[in-house]
Every structure is written in C-alpha cells, then in structure tokens.
Symmetry: C3
Subunit: 397 residues, 3 copies
C-alpha cells in the first residue's frame, strides 16, 4: 500500500511538475516578449492677460489630453528596447524608440534610436515625477527632448560622478535634420554630474552640460517657451517678437544645475544660455545670446523622500508613494531679447499635488508671468501680465 | 517509510504551493495591468442615384475599414480606465479616453475624459450591438458621440429610473471648443430614462434627453447626416444645400425615445429636434428648427433575446449569441430644410445579420432614400432617389 | 496513517489539479485573445551623385526609422486575424488588416481585408527575411504590396504547384481606388509557382505572375523606384523625367521568377514588364512598355540553409538562425524610358548581414547605380552615377 501510494505520488508529482514548468516557461516567455504600458494626463488650462493677449487678455481656457502614450518594452539578453507612441487627438508620433545595451560590465550603457538627449535636470525629469505641472521655461527652451542618435553614459559609484554623451540628428528648434548638402545636420550633447549622499536624509547634486547643434541654414523657431503653461493662445518667450526670424548656421548652448535634498525637501536650480550663429553673418542677431534660470523648491508634506536615480542623475517621486501631499514653488526667467526685438518672461508657479498611489496623481498649479523686452508690444500689446490656473489628472498603467 | 513518504509529500506540496501561488499572483497582476482589445469592421458600400449624384447617379462603390480600433483598459481600486484608438487608413484619433469612478455605493458613477455624451438610444447603442449597419439619420445628426468632459449617471432599480448628466467641451458639429474669448465653448447634456420589465419576455423603455451647445461664433457644418450609408459621394441631409452656411451663437436640441421588447422582437423609435441661434441675429436661419425621427423593428429569427443594460439604458446583443440570425427594418426621416434652403431625406432600410459568435458577425443591408426640400436641385440635381446595398464583416477581439 | 496520508494526497492533488487547470485555461484564453508584436528597423542611408543630384551630387545622408510596426494577431476556430500598424515619425497607416480562413481541408486558404498582393518573389519576401536592405527596383515598381481585397491560394504537395489569385481595390501607383463613376477601380492579380526539392540541399523554384489594374483616369505616379536605397533625395527610376505624367485607363504587368537553392547558397532572379493604357489614346505614351529584371545571390557563410515556405512559395531566413553571417550580391535594372522621356537605372548591390538571433540582425550594404535614358539630364543633370552605403539595425518582438 505504501509502495503504491509512493508510486501514485511520484506519478502525480511528475505530471504536476511538467505542467507547472510548462506554465512557468510560457508565462516567462510571454512576459519577456512584450510589456504594454501607458500614460494618460488630462489637463485643464485657464489663463488671462498676456497668455490670451490675442483675445484682449480676457479669460481663455483649454481642456485637453496633455499626454496620451502607449509604450511597449522588453528585453532579450543584454539588449533592452522601448517604444513610446504619443497620441494627440488626431495625430501620433514615435516619441521614443530606444535600444539600450547593458552588457558592458563596469562599462557604459549604450543607447541608440530616438532617445532623450541628456541635458538639463528639469528637462530630464520624467513627466511622471515633476513636482509642478509644466517644466521651467529655460528647460523647455534648451531641451530638444527626444532625437535620433546614439549615446553613452556611465555612473561611477565610488566618486559619485556620471557622464553622458551623445551624437544626434538635429531636427529640433526649427532645424530639419539636413544640412545644406542634404546630409545630416548633427548635434553633440554632453552632461557631467556629481552627487554626494551625506546620509539617508541629505544629498547634493551638481552638474553642467553643453550642446552644439548644426542648423543647415534653417530658420530658428520664434517661440522658445510658452511660459510654463501648455495651451496659452500666446507663447510668451519669443526671440522674434517685434522683429525677424533668422536662419542659423549653428547654435550652441550650455547650462549648470544644482540640487540639495534634505528629507522631504528638494531645492533645485539651473542656469543656461544659448548663443546663435546666423547664416547671414552680417545679421544683427549674429552671436546673440539668450539666457534663463529657475529655482524650485518642493516639499512632501506627508514626509516621503524623493528618490535620486544615480544611473540617470535625476530625481524621481518617492518609491511606493501613496496617499501623499506635496507642495512646490518655482521662480523662473527666460530672456529671449536682443537689442531691438524679442521678449523675456518672468514666471512664478505655486503648486500642490496629491499622490493617490504610485501611478495616479492630481495636481493644481497657479502661475503668474510678466513679459518685458523690445518685442513686448508686438507680442502682447499692453497685456504684460498673465495669470493662469492649471490642473492635471495623471494616470500610468 | 510512511514517515518519509509524508515528508516527501509535504516538501513537494510546499514547493508546488509556492510555485502555484507565484504563478497565480503573476497572472493576476499581469491581467489587471492592461487588457488589450480591438474591433475590426470591413464594409462594402454600393449605391446609385442621389448618393452618387456628383457622378450623374451612376453606380458608385467603396470598400473600406469602417472601424479599426485598438483599446486598452484596466482598473485599480475603484477607478477604471479605457482608451480606444481609432485608425483610418492613414489617420488616428483618440476616440475615447475614459476614467470611471465606481466607488460611490448607491451613488452615481462619475466619468471623465473623452467620453460618450449620453443622448439618443440609437446613438448610444454600440456599433457591436446595432441591428442595422448604420444608425438612423436623426441619431447621427444629434449625437456628438465622444467629447471631453465629465458626467454622472445613476440607475435606481426600485423605480427603473436612470439619469445621466454631463458638461463637455463642445467641439462637435463645426464648433471648435473655443468661445470668442478663447475660453471653452461648453455643452450640457442630460438624459432621463425609465424601464419596466414585465416578465422574462417583455420590457418597456421610455426616455427623453436635451442638449445645449455653445458655438463661439463658429460655422455649423452643412451635412447633418449621410442618410444611413457611410461612404456615399453626396451626403443627403444638408441644411446649407442651395443656400448658405451660418455661424452660430449656440444650438439646443432635445429628443424622445421609446422601445418595446417582446422576446426576440424589439421595436424602438425616436423623435428629436435641433434649434439654432445664429450669431447674426438678423439671419433668416435664426431660430430655424430641424426635426427627425425613426422607427425600427428587429427580430432574432433564432429566438434569442436582446439584453437590456439597465446601467446604460440601452440594448445589447443577446448574451452568448452564436450561430444566430436577425432581421431588422427601419423607416427614418431627417429634415434639414428651412424656407429657402436645405434638404430632407426619407430612408428605408432592410437588413439581415448572421451572428457567427459573440464577436463575429456578417451583415447585409439594403437602403432606399429620397431627397426633397428647397436645396434638392443644388445638392443632387434630378437624382432625388438613391439606392444602396451595404455589407459588413464585424470582428471583435 | 497510510489512509490519512492517502486522503491528504488526494485532497491536495484535487486542489492543485483545480488551480493548475484554472491557470492553464486562463493562460490559454489570454494568449489566444490577442498577441502583440512588433518590428523596429533603424536605417542609415549615405549617398552621393545621382542620388543627391538636387544638391549637386554632394554627399547626402539620412537616419530614420525604416519600419516601426506594431501588430496584433490571434485566432478563433478556423479564422485567424492580424493587424499591422506602421508608424512613421508622425504618421500611421494600417499596413495590413487580414482575416484568413483556414477551415477548408485540402482546399484553398481564403484571405480578405487589406492583404499582400501575391506577385513577385522579391516583393513577397518579408522585410525580416531579405538578404539585402532594400528590394530590387523591378519588385518595387511592380508590387502594390498591401491592398483591400480578397484572395485564395493553395499548395499541392504532390506536384509542388501553388496558385494564388485575388481581386483588390486598386489604389496603388497613383490610382485612388475609384473609377470615373465613383465605383471601385479594381485589380486582379494571380501567381502560379512550382517547386522541386531534390534533397536536403537543393531546391528549384519557378513561377509566373500577372496583374491587371484599372486606373479610373488617375495619373500614374512618376517615380517607379528609388534605385535600391530608401531615402535618396532623387528617385532614379522615373517614366516622367524630362516629359509628362499621364492619366491611365488601366495598366497590366506580368513577370517571371526562378530560384535555385543549394545548401547555404540561394540564387534567384526575376523579369517583369508593365504596359500602360493612357486615358488619352492619342498620347505617345499609350501602350508604352517598361521592363526590369534582377539576379541575386546570397550565401550563408556559417552554413545555414534558408527555409522555403511551400505555403507561401518564398524563402525565409534559416530556422533558429543565430550568430550567423551572410553575404549577398545583386545586379538589377529597371527601364522606365519611352522614346522621348523617362530614365532607366542599373544598380549593383553588395551586402553583408550578421544575424544576432532569429529576431535581431545588423546589415550593411553598398550600392552603385547609373542612370540613363532621355530624361536623365532633367532628372539628375550630369550626375549620372550614384554611390550609397546603407546600414540597418533590425529587431522583432
């Protein structure tokens, strides 16, 4: 009896073993193949004054999908891939198409495809992790975000140093990725950062970055930034306001960034400038320089700590955050003026966020901006001040 | 021996237990994250006469993807999300981007995002559940289908009453979602229905709805409806035919609906009218009213009963339907005439559907429409009658 | 004790049985519903001379996503479906939307939807399985690739014969799918092939195809082919160069194909011609005939054999290929000249591919093309020769 019982056990066990292993393998292979995710942000923007100057500064508003993204990602051996598709109401864009080779032990991570150019702490902070609804004007002015190219980056834990460097096709800011011969217009961008973690509570971050971008005689876009709301009717930072657009041979830009985290408090700031080289070297805008900065403080009222990613040298939301409150404030300026044209905007933003869970967040921001510079009258007439209230429902899946 | 056997069992059991639980959890979490689905409808439209008046009324035809949709949906706690992307041959649209909060016990369901405006029984019936290939002209005239906004709805089982009410951005019918100040042009829509289920076989449904829509001085689209085929070369219901398009301050519309289900038989009808307020109040079209109606009967030859969804107050196909036949007939009218311009179309549709299974269906319809009104000559010359045959292969996954 | 042990076993076994079956069913049903996949190809094209004649023949270049596709597929009973969406940087297209009925035992496979027209061995070879980065000019000239329609195909193992025949909406080559009455402009295409497998090592393939295409008085596109790179600034095979575009009543085309596989070696060739019937029968281009051919050899240096799919009558990459090298060479010509206009291009391509695994491949090609014919000066001025280097990173998931 014990014998037959044993046999029964072994037979059963073997069969179960087979089925279990089969399922585990199937599941493993199905999971590894493709993972599907997404990001949905529904925003409200209400604004007046300068932001709605083409309607006499009256109250204007928009309700819109700020980001509607689907992503697929996965990995095989040492190669990871990710594609993000961004949908607007009736358009689509390949936002990111990244391959990442992680097979060099103690060596750099290599990325290629349509990847994020690694410049500006604020521009690098994911839209999931931002403490305010929109980024600072200087980050939106300087960052080309996602471009076709190849990059390398590496973090050295012993020193806290990290570098990132890449070569890209420059189809940002009005360039179309072609030089005057029909060859590639290129950009080269690099960033070097350092961090020092004093204890569980405190962390310093400092860095600098630089970017050189061929323009192939294309026209530099007039609006550098919208002044920290997404859907104003007038974009407030515009180098061409009251004057002319110019064609460029190239532009160069560089910036500095620093941050200090102390428990739930994070203070960060950046300064950056752009210099343009016009195709017509006799243009009065040749060698014009445009500079901007911001300083921002955020505080988790419920005590959580933001998470510093050493591999990316940027701050993410607290791990496992749920039922949490955050407040944030930013003072920001971007100057797109030259002698006879252009505007600068000074913006102040105050925001509060409620994290329902790691993937769900509600945000409300108030913004006040003022416009000045030679192009002011042309751009906003006498509506030199603008106020806005913005709100977001954020959902990741 | 028995002892060691027992040990062996327990060890094995524990290990299996662990692996099984692991798989169950993995599967559960992977299923909950994102569910991917889709709808594919390939249609043929053949037509002549009025439908092809710009080709002298000869036989015209089209073969096309009527609906090609991918959807992702899921839920976390009390919040459900769904996004539907609609692809045409070379365009894409976010058809729906819905968040649904279902956490109020005995309270309303709250929806927000790009959601279906809850008006008109025919317009609310999913394209999966329609007994005929296209909806009635009056439903296509009146319904804005999916719009950005927020709504609440609730069903009261004791009384059979259900209400739905929402506020939306009005970018339908030619409006662009903006008022003349650049603020939101809004729409407010509500529907109140009542149902009485007499027994397993019989159910009465009755309701009314109303919608008010700001236009912000934008132009009302000329074609109200195509007259119940999708790809005619001429759209037969057009208020501007033989006259002018007008800009609106707002429009208002309301309708009544009723249905009687008796086993496999469903008879339903609607009446609705639209009144427009032109921006130029001296326009002869100011206060023009356009009205339409339809009556439709469908019968499941194989005896199944359509399913009445009390939570949505509409009829779905029979649950678990497979290898089933249905016939349907509809008489329909939509009048877009005013004193000096516009057309009305009277349409008769006869259809047969074969349900292969719950997700796969073949449909064939015949349609005969006639056009009249002051704008007839301008729109269709002397081709006042049109005949069409349409066919569909429907597949959900 | 033995008894209770047995009870314990049976109880446990039953519970496990239940959970295992549940998981297996869930997994089966979730897998069967929708399978998600994709193809990502990032290409570099560098070229000069004729390819960049509008920039004086200087070196030009492009870096771009050659194919970025997402696909969903699945099956229910005997009906399989597949949809492929193709994304460019900011556009989308339903590339394929195929239903395939496989329920006729010993009968044909029926396909409908937007499906691949079954003509030309090179055009039918999947972009995953090509030995060179781009197809021969004659294949790109002749194949409409994916069109809306219905087709049947069947392979007869005893004879090695296979036929495919289909009727499609012709919206290729400049036609818009409509005839002059607004009805469908149709195409009818068929292919007949035969294969003989001598042993494990050797296989002969031969076939012919024909296609008739209504044009509905639309204009035939000028550029027939680009001459075997994807993103030149000038497309080298153009029947209208130095002359006029013409409207067509219809066109007809037919071709012959042959291949010989001997172990790792595959030699294949095709010849095809197109004859056009202009709407204006007095046009000097009426009855013009354009012909092209290629011969191509590929060799797996690491010894693998390509896989001949008898059901599709085409060659796929070796099964399970990994860590493998292939070289390939092609001579190709496409003649789009008539008496007074048009160009012909002669192209030579040499390529090497490294298969990392079945789904990942790196390819590098060198191409040299020369242009001649009456339209040469108009098309490329004196830059009658062009050189190119192309590279691809291919990834399927």
């Amino acid at each position: 009896n014990a014998k037959s019982n044993q046999d029964f056990d072994n037979d059963t066990a073997n069969k179960y073993e087979e089925r279990l292993s089969g399922l585990e393998q199937q599941f493993e292979s199905s999971s590894r193949q493709v993972s599907l995710g997404g990001r949905l942000q529904i925003d409200f923007n209400g604004f007046n004054g300068a932001y709605n100057a083409d309607n006499g500064g009256d109250f204007g508003a928009e309700l819109f999908p700020r980001r509607a993204r689907l992503s697929v990602d996965g990995e095989r051996t040492d190669l990871e891939y990710k594609m993000i598709l961004e949908f607007a109401e009736d358009t689509i864009e390949i936002l990111l198409l990244r391959f990442e080779y992680v097979g060099f032990d103690d060596g750099p991570v290599i990325k290629f495809g349509k990847i994020r150019e690694d410049i500006s702490l604020d521009a690098l902070t994911s839209s999931k992790h931002m403490a305010l609804i929109e980024r600072a004007s200087v980050a939106n002015t300087m960052s080309p975000y996602f471009r076709w190219g190849v990059s390398a980056n590496q973090y050295f834990p012993t020193t806290g140093l990290r570098y990132a460097f890449g070569i890209y096709k420059n189809d940002a800011f009005g360039a179309n990725g072609k030089d005057t011969d029909g060859a590639l217009a290129l950009a080269a961008s690099g960033r070097l950062t350092w961090n020092l973690a004093l204890d569980h509570e405190q962390l310093f971050h400092a860095g600098g970055w630089s970017s050189y971008r061929e323009f192939g005689d294309e026209q530099l876009n007039g609006a550098f930034a919208r002044a920290e709301i997404r859907e104003p009717n007038v974009r407030l930072v515009d180098y061409s306001a009251g004057g002319q657009l110019v064609r460029l041979d190239y532009l160069s830009q560089h910036g500095f960034e620093a941050a200090w985290q102390n428990g739930p408090l994070l203070i960060q700031g950046e300064y950056a400038e752009r210099r343009i080289s016009t195709s017509d070297t006799s243009s009065e805008l040749n060698r014009a320089t445009y500079a901007g900065y911001y300083i921002q403080a955020s505080y988790m009222l419920t005590g959580e700590h933001k998470f510093y990613s050493t591999s990316s040298a940027r701050f993410n939301q607290p791990k496992g955050v749920a039922n949490a409150w955050e407040i944030a404030v930013r003072a920001s300026s971007m100057d797109a003026t030259s002698d006879l044209q252009g505007t600068r905007a000074q913006s102040y933003t105050l925001g509060v966020s409620y994290y329902i869970d790691e993937d769900t967040k509600i945000m409300v921001n108030g913004i006040r901006s003022s416009v000045s510079g030679p192009g002011t009258l042309a751009l906003v007439n006498t509506n030199t001040e603008g106020n806005a209230i913005t709100a977001r429902f954020h959902y990741d899946f």
